[in-house]
Symmetry: C2
Subunit: 359 residues, 2 copies
Amino acid sequence: MKPLAKPSFRAVEWVGNTDGHLLLLDQTRLPSDVVFLECRDVDTVWEAIKTLRVRGAPAIGIAGAYGLCLGLRSEDSMSEDQWFARLNAVADRMITSRPTAVNLAWAVRRVRDVALALRGGGSLEEIEAAMLAEARAIEDEDREMCRSIGRHGASLLANCDNVLTHCNAGGLATSEYGTALAVIFSAVEAGKRLHVWVDETRPLLQGSRLTAWELVQQGISATLICDSMAAQVMREGRVQAVVVGADRIAANGDTANKIGTYGLAQLAAAHGIPFYVAAPTSTFDLSLASGDAIPIEQRDAREITHVFGSPTAPAGVAVYNPAFDVTPARLIRAIVCERGVISPVTTDAIARCAGLRAK
Amino acid sequence: MKPLAKPSFRAVEWVGNTDGHLLLLDQTRLPSDVVFLECRDVDTVWEAIKTLRVRGAPAIGIAGAYGLCLGLRSEDSMSEDQWFARLNAVADRMITSRPTAVNLAWAVRRVRDVALALRGGGSLEEIEAAMLAEARAIEDEDREMCRSIGRHGASLLANCDNVLTHCNAGGLATSEYGTALAVIFSAVEAGKRLHVWVDETRPLLQGSRLTAWELVQQGISATLICDSMAAQVMREGRVQAVVVGADRIAANGDTANKIGTYGLAQLAAAHGIPFYVAAPTSTFDLSLASGDAIPIEQRDAREITHVFGSPTAPAGVAVYNPAFDVTPARLIRAIVCERGVISPVTTDAIARCAGLRAK
């Protein structure tokens, strides 16, 4: 009866060795269809990242790392010079599939740099094997990081808690476990019974399409609501904790995350419900003193004015569509990262945690 | 340059005299198409109410009143007994088009009772003329009530205010001006420049489809947002007032309105923004001591799990879809009704206002 704590799917999975291929779970087809895209060349991976078939910073990074490997299959007719010229060209092009994804550039360059460091020290086949090993390492490190976040965060949830989450900070966005959902998965694995309220997360419905799908897959009790219903559910006393992910955390703990997160934090405060952020330390941006310095990306009006291509708003109406909002640290009870639980959330506590070299 | 304060459309309009017909603005076609349904028989009106082509308690009542008139065209071949038998049959049937709409039954019976009172005292043609006059009176009274709400509420808004509203409490739901939107229309008419933030209002998007359309029609500056963005807009200091309608107001001022209203009231309080409810005194239900006694209707899960018939959530996920929530009186700065502004919102103040016989 106990639900699986380990996800039964992977967003990104390499099959085989250096002559293998990449499987990507096509997230644009969810929740209706579970379709895996078989990638045997770099262009297929490029297109999949570009069109959001794979999404979430860690998952994109891992896909890009494997994509670079796919683009560098040694060919008998290629000289070493030609091969290394191709390495740089493929790496540069891969990064253009999602130019603002810092994680993608970081992961692709990490795999490229392994090859560059080995130049002249081994055969192309050996270099290709080392690149694949590096991509696997990136994936493994992400998996272990998510597991650690989950383990640390699980202690914050009590048996029979109702947990509310927003957007998708789940396995689909990472190697396997996610961040906010890792906390839930780990608590369930530890034997706690939880129920999860899932905000649908307009405009792109990541909660409805992705988070609800993940939880149903895992057999975890979940109820879908519109974003505007969270306050009512809280008022009914049916939420004991809110757990969300993060896109960027300033030095003082102010947290940028999917639009709607800030409102949830205010509502949680009004109802005396603890509000938790789960994110790796790589999310900390200590160059920003506070959230005031975090730029808010504006997205396309059509995300709000159209659904499945059909208009749901009058032509010519103005639209405001911020991708993110910033939740001030004072509304965050704790930040859970792979190194532990930061609570209370202060500049000092974050600096201490970020300064740790390892666990 | 000053925008029209009077709506340039009517949701319900009678054209001509007793041999005239009814025009209904088909709200299921908005915002893409502005199509008027020409009703020349009672069945067309019945179908239009049933399928939500006309919606909003006052608008439904007015449409039903005129619908009854359409169903009682005198025919030479009909005896007076036959005519009155038909009157009762048509009235009973008209009410079944939306059985829970208290306003519909009230308006249809009011027109029927005029006919019953005149039985034997005039020709059928005279009775039909009296019925049409009564339907017109219902419409005129609603228009005057909306105008009064607007006049009283306009004083609450200052020049250059940004006003946030939720769902549709506009002209489309009433004879012409609406309730929450009447406040905005009247303030604009008085020469104030306003900007309106429109919550899209999931799941049925009445804000996006209807309120945004009304405001664009009126030339009033409006910006559409997802419901989850309201908190961010407030945090940016870009909201000076929130104005919403009401479905039911308990004796102590607790207010039931479209789901999402309660969360907005909490967010307004957190940001020090006044929160106003605009509704006629007919919305007061003094039999309920507080909002705890207001039942919350649950609606179909498909409103959340499907869009335009396509699934946006995994099969089998649980859904919670309350139609309304209840905002406690302590979060409401003022209730604006046709008799004036109730502020502070207390049981005594509401009783005094509801007890007034007339303005």
